[in-house]
């Protein structure tokens, strides 16, 4: 990949001056401050969304309705998804991009710092609007995060609040994406050609293009919902000549690339961590880049596999089955390359590596169930059951979220300048990994045995696995407090971390600046050759 000259000891020589007070955060233009705000915001949202998940698991612990009205249960299901997707996972990736992309490409900051500030500060307003809708007299949105009409059109006053919240989130994501693209394409250190770009930057570059391509599609879809509800249009209303299935096509044309938006940066993170702790360069770097690009391309032509049961022509179902199965090929290439990177390496198992390995195993399990879901006749049995719930939680929780945790454990010493409590972090890892499987694996069984998703109560035959799943859910949820405690402890102090942090030979530029990374780094571009 690339080598780094040693003379770029950075930038604290003339200006490590930070603005003081609340203004430092409100008017922040520094990529590190904005990155920190994104990460703190996503952590708060992770716990809010997690509390909703625990409410769901509490109600499902045993059959019969114990705690909630079914309408409130539907609000929890809907908001858990919106908060986790748009509030926790996406902002966490943008936060990591803000912190790490300039450090990895040797740039002094993001290309568009004021837009960066704006794109972050939209989010608290968006989520105040969304979560505030839960307190309207008719309650929050309850039609599922997929907002299928005509059901979503039955919502009360929460409806426009949700739509405007989604608009704001979309605007924020697009601005973040523009910033990433402009930064990576224009601000790389001299000598860093695109095929020397760290894989985290590569996956984010491709993700950013996906965001720009599909967020406007979502905005269009929800705007049509809004006009159907309030302005008498009939885009999706069959009584007025509209088509409710068209919404699903438009939504999933956004929605499928969206799921890759949630996983491609995770691929990038794992591609940074596995080589480091295998003490060996990434195997098949070029293949990894091309595989990422292939996945991004395929993500645009598979959307209707989310809707096999709506009644499509045979040829349509065949096409979407085949194109979906094709995604297994580049995804397989990535898994094989990670595995080969470990082959003949010299492995050690610090917390980031542990989370990356758990990602490798558990994301692959999610990939297998995804392949099963692609088979249309079998999908008729899986569709909208807990089998699907198990599938997408496997790729999103031990997939995307474990990758985010791996990234935090990997780069935290670079951010704080201190080594965190390794023992506690390993406890966090083991409790999380065991409990996440107790939580989600039995959901495969529930779905296959016939339990639909999004139901607040169930027949007694599903009791056992629901109890197991709920126990796993509560252990997993509360074990995340350990994660927060590890971070707080590290921020408050600890043994100083070296510039390299890890006992390995990493090529990345982020390891050439001291720990903590100075407020202004790479004032002069480093020399890459």
């Amino acid at each position: 990949m690339k080598t780094v000259s040693t003379n770029n000891v950075s930038a604290d020589r003339h200006d490590d001056h930070k603005p003081s007070g609340i203004g430092r955060w409100l008017f922040a233009t520094n990529h590190k401050d904005i990155g920190t705000m994104y990460l703190v915001f996503s952590c708060i949202m992770f716990f809010i969304g997690g509390a909703m998940a625990l409410a769901i698991r509490a109600e499902l612990f045993r059959p019969g309705m114990q705690f909630f009205d079914p309408g409130f249960y539907n609000q929890m299901v809907t908001n858990h998804a919106l908060v986790m997707i748009f509030g926790a996972v996406m902002p966490a990736f943008v936060g990591l991009a803000n912190w790490m992309i300039p450090l990895q490409i040797g740039a002094p900051d993001m290309a568009l710092p004021r837009m960066n500030n704006y794109s972050f500060w939209i989010l608290p307003f968006a989520f105040t609007l969304l979560l505030g809708s839960l307190f309207t007299p008719s309650g929050g949105p309850a039609g599922g995060w997929t907002m299928y009409p005509p059901l979503s059109l039955q919502s009360g006053n929460s409806f426009p609040m949700m739509i405007f919240a989604v608009h704001l989130m979309g605007a924020s994501s697009i601005m973040g994406a523009i910033n990433v693209i402009v930064t990576i394409l224009n601000m790389r250190a001299p000598g860093m050609s695109l095929l020397k770009l760290p894989l985290f930057c590569w996956t984010w570059l491709i993700t950013a293009y996906l965001l720009i391509a599909v967020m406007p599609v979502l905005a269009g879809a929800v705007t049509m919902l809004l006009t159907d509800h309030y302005f008498g249009t009939s885009f999706f209303n069959p009584a007025g000549g509209g088509d409710p299935v068209m919404f699903q096509h438009i939504f999933w044309f956004f929605g499928h690339p969206e799921v890759y938006i949630l996983i491609l940066p995770a691929f990038g993170i794992v591609s940074e961590i596995i080589p480091t702790f295998s003490r060996k360069p990434m195997f098949g770097y070029d293949a990894m880049v091309y595989a990422t690009a292939s996945i991004a391309f395929l993500s645009f032509i598979v959307w209707a596999h989310h809707m096999f049961t709506v009644g499509m022509p045979l040829a349509g179902q065949m096409f979407f089955m085949m194109s979906t199965m094709l995604i297994a090929v580049p995804t397989g290439v990535k898994v094989f390359n990670w595995t080969t990177t470990m082959w003949k390496g010299s492995l050690s198992f610090e917390p980031p590596m542990l989370f990356a390995l758990a990602f490798l195993f558990l994301f692959t399990i999610g990939g297998f169930s995804g392949l099963m879901l692609a088979i249309v006749p079998a999908d008729y049995q899986y569709q909208d059951t807990y089998f699907v719930v198990a599938h997408f939680h496997y790729v999103l929780v031990p997939g995307a979220i474990f990758a985010i945790m791996a990234a935090v454990y990997y780069w935290l010493p670079k951010w704080t300048g201190t080594m965190y409590d390794m023992t506690l972090a390993k406890w966090h890892f083991w409790v999380s990994t065991v409990s996440v499987n107790v939580l989600f694996f039995p959901q495969h069984f529930l779905g296959l045995a016939g339990m639909p998703r999004r139901i607040p109560d169930y027949n007694v035959q599903f009791t056992d696995w629901n109890m197991v799943s709920s126990v796993g859910g509560f252990v997993f949820g509360f074990s995340q407090l350990v994660f927060v405690w590890v971070i707080i402890k590290a921020v408050r102090g600890g043994p100083p971390a070296s510039a390299k942090v890890w006992d390995a030979d990493m090529p990345g530029l982020e390891w050439s600046v001291p720990s903590p990374a100075p407020y202004h780094s790479f004032d002069t571009p480093p020399d890459v050759h």
């Binding site: 005509p150 692959t364 399990i365 049995q381 045995a449």
Partner: protein, 285 residues
């Protein structure tokens, strides 16, 4: 045909395996229609293929984790950077496996989509939150809602132990009745929002969408009582609109039809029925 033989052999194999018993709490039902059995065979084939791939891939990962530990003195081989040959191999082999899986899946799909030559057609309409069944050309129609005992037990703080309720949340007042060994075509639509009609034992799931009429079919091979649920979020009581189907012998079905038609006539003859009652709310004999 080879594929038929292959699938029936697979069904025979898995159906006789005790751990994959018919009433499983952790696997897909084999079901009682030719389609559900083909789907089950496809599902199990996919499952075992995934297991085989997992054994290889996870095997290599676990071997690496054990064998190439730094603490065991492993020296990294930094020359291992890329190999076009390897990339070609692990691109080609999955493509071959996928094609092999897609062919039987596509064949089953073609059979599923062939709704011709049905001997009985039932129109199913989804409502918030019940189903309506209309036997086309037979002047029989009725609603099917959650049974009263389940409905009472499922209220918040009802104090009723749901374990004492028969078929909790899966029993209805008027089940759909169809004859055995008969190709039954169903036409699905929604009256208010989108619902989805799922009968796991038949291998049938199709959305009931306002403004659309969807088609599906099943041919049940075994007399019995089967249950399923709505599988598209349709509002507050989405979890409380189950589906129940009674499969009768052909003779019993004819008797049932005759009884229903007689009851419908009585209902039609009754003075000034309100619009809601015009559809006879009848039960099986």
């Amino acid at each position: 045909m080879f594929k038929r033989k292959f699938i029936s052999a697979l069904v025979a194999l898995v159906a006789t395996t005790p751990v994959l018993a018919y009433e499983s709490s952790y696997n897909m039902p084999v079901g009682v229609t030719p389609i559900s059995r083909e789907v089950y065979a496809l599902h199990m084939t996919m499952f075992w293929v995934c297991c085989a791939i997992a054994a290889v891939v996870f095997g290599v990962m676990i071997y690496s984790i054990i064998k190439f530990r730094k603490s065991a003195g492993a020296i990294p081989d930094k020359t291992l950077l890329h190999s076009t040959k390897m990339e070609a191999v692990w691109t080609t082999i999955p493509v071959i496996i996928l094609i092999a899986l897609a062919i039987p899946a596509a064949r089953t799909l073609v059979t599923i989509e062939d709704t011709r030559n049905a001997e009985l057609t039932v129109k199913i309409t989804g409502y918030q939150w019940k189903w309506q069944y209309e036997y086309l050309g037979k002047d029989i129609a009725f609603y099917s809602t959650l049974s009263t005992d389940s409905n009472e037990a499922r209220q918040l703080h009802s104090g009723i132990d749901v374990n004492t309720v028969k078929d909790y949340l899966l029993s209805v007042d008027h089940p759909l009745v169809v004859p055995v060994d008969t190709k039954v075509r169903i036409l699905l639509t929604g009256n208010d929002v989108i619902h989805s009609w799922w009968m796991p034992d038949f291998g049938v799931k199709k959305d009931a969408i306002p403004g659309f009429i969807n088609e599906a079919w099943f041919k049940v091979l075994k007399v019995g009582h089967y249950t399923g649920q709505c599988t598209e979020l349709c509002g507050r009581d989405h979890g409380f609109m189950p589906i129940a189907v009674d499969v009768f012998s052909k003779e019993d079905f004819e008797r049932w039809i005759a009884a229903q038609q007689a009851a419908t006539k009585v209902a039609h003859a009754a003075p000034e029925p309100s619009p809601g009652e015009a559809i006879a709310m009848t039960s099986r004999p």
